[in-house]
């Protein structure tokens, strides 16, 4: 005999909790993605409209080569580090809020 299904009228299962949960997580992801995509999709535009600038030599590399072949990797590490830090903090905050609102219900 399986255990009876849990009741669905507490905080965790409320519509408002799910909405705020998804909205907060998506907002964080979208802001990080926008930073990344801005750089990734902006670089071809710079190559297209400012070829002379992107061909400038920086220590032997062309600027465009240096940005794409070397600097892009650390840039992405920074974004992902910030995302992970914030997303773990976000999850902890969600757990704390649920606990607090459960207390309030009693």
């Amino acid at each position: 005999m399986p255990p009876p299904p849990p009741s669905h009228d507490d905080v965790v299962h409320s519509e408002s909790f799910l909405r705020s949960l998804m909205r907060r997580q998506l907002a964080l992801s979208v802001s990080c993605a926008a930073t990344f995509l801005g750089a990734l999709l902006g670089l071809p535009l710079l190559n297209y409209f400012a070829p002379a600038l992107m061909a400038t030599r920086v220590g032997g590399f062309t600027l465009s080569w240096l940005v794409l072949g070397v600097l892009f990797f650390p840039f992405v590490w920074i974004i992902s580090y910030l995302f992970i830090k914030r997303s773990i903090a976000l999850e902890q905050d969600e757990v704390v809020q649920v606990e607090r609102r459960k207390e309030g219900h009693r």
């Binding site: 965790v12 998506l26 990080c32 070829p51 061909a55 030599r57 062309t62 080569w65 995302f83 773990i88």
Partner: protein, 608 residues
Amino acid sequence: MNAAWPVLLAASTGHVDPWIFTFSFITVVVTIGMGFWSARKSKTASDFFVAGRSVSVGWNASAISGEYLSAASFMGVAGMVMSSGYDALWYPVCYACGYLFLLLFIAGPLRRFGAYTIPDFAEGRFDSPVFRKIAVVFVLFIGFFYTMPQMKGAGTTLAYIFPGMPYWGGVVLVGAVITLNVALGGMKGITLVQAFQYWAKMFAISVPVFVLMAVFGFYNRQIAANVAPGETAARVEAAAIGRKPLVEKAPPDTAWVAPFGPLTTKAVSAAAAALPQPERAAYLAEHQKPYSLLYTYSLIIALVCGTAGLPHILVRFYTNPDGAAAKRTTMWVMILIGIFYVFPPIFGTIGRNLMPDLYTGVGAKGTDKVVLELPTLLAGKSSVLGSILSGITCAGAFAAFMSTFSGLLVSMTGALAHDVYGRMLRPQSNQRERLVAFKFATVLVGGIAVVLGCFVEPLEINFMVGQAFAIAAASYFPLLFMSVWWRGMTVKGAATGMLTGGTCALIAAALTNFSTLALDKGPMGKVFAGFAPLNTFWAHHPLARILCEQPAIWTVPLAILLMIVVSKASATEVPSDVRMKMLVLHAPETLGLKQEYIQEHQAAEATH
């Protein structure tokens, strides 16, 4: 016994460098040895499929990186940078940075949902066993597209180590060895082996690069030896780095070092060549750069979205203990592969300057082998050092195609044994029967991969992997992204979008390859001669060629659009417990919603 094979071949072909042979041989033996050793430790079906879900972050990150860095990364990127220059840099950058998309939108939720494979997720999210069958198909499509370049890597490397060996011989030999290894080891073995292989590859690519740069001039000096647009002469004189004159087939400096070079302008150049001489310059001026920009964007979309939808990578996220660990793992993967990807373009650059003869080679003798052959330049300074370093890069190449091919075999075999056999053909089969099915499926998939691999010698390794990404980007990425973040998805919408997007990308990629193979002067040209008229069509419609060669720019939006439209039209069929599913996907695991969800499901099934 397998170990006797290479020795016999070596004796029959002659001219084998003992150092190169030894390093490669040790890599193969260690890989197989580890597979056998761990085979004794993995007993249950769960061990085989996802390593009992208890792999630590460090191990898992190394293993994912080891599996991901394929022959395309190790050999193909260098070869493509050498042949095409700047535009090829998008490949390593997007291979590494695509993980960010995976991290931001997919890794955490997918792990929380908890399922063995993508088809598991597809079924669980929509409560539809039919959808599982549809989802399984793409594991195989993407997998086979991905195994072809690995097989070319194997054929190229063996043809280099044993100069008398035909290309297909290498493909068959390596395919057989790895298939055997996977059939005996399963995923538990693979995790350990993959992690080891990452570090082997890292060592094999970085050490020779540093030695080569110390002798022939640093990365920036090698780039500076190429004339950029707007410059009258190179910043570093050819003599200073010992640069050799370019051959006729090589692209000129300005096209190579600057964006919008030979890779992205190929279609327009071919179209211009079909025009009468006086019209060519005007045609090129009008079309070359805009089409090139389009090509670049389509390539970026394919690689970034494709990384987030690769089945053999995604299955590994289930081996993390929790969602937070899945995120930390992704972070480490990005660092590990990011560092790696700085090196192959250096090989390509030095290869262009010092080994331009490779531009004239075709198939297994072309630029795809620059990583293997470049260290032999040191032979002039010290013959043993050159051989040892070349041996190290060959060992790295072995590590590359062996690890990726093993990973692909596991995920494709998993799909066949776990989904097709275990769920569709014989749901009542016991664990022992499933293990037998796993081994049988491994041999079947390995055999097909070898046959396909024999056909693709004229195609560039890196380009083929890009196509696998384009198919993943148009099928799994939209499926995962939309089902994780949009509650309104229905099974009809998901299936229509995934099937249409993925099939369009698949057909486009196949047509591109067939027409390229028809141009081959060897035996493949005869096999695919029927597709030769397609090349005439491309010459008149370069835009169609670009959209076929890089389909992501239209297939990914098409898939997402179809998902939205069809889901809206069938809105009544949204799963009834979608709120609970969304909670499981997004709520922190400490709230324990997953267990609750499973209990509810069991209770619901008991009352039915």
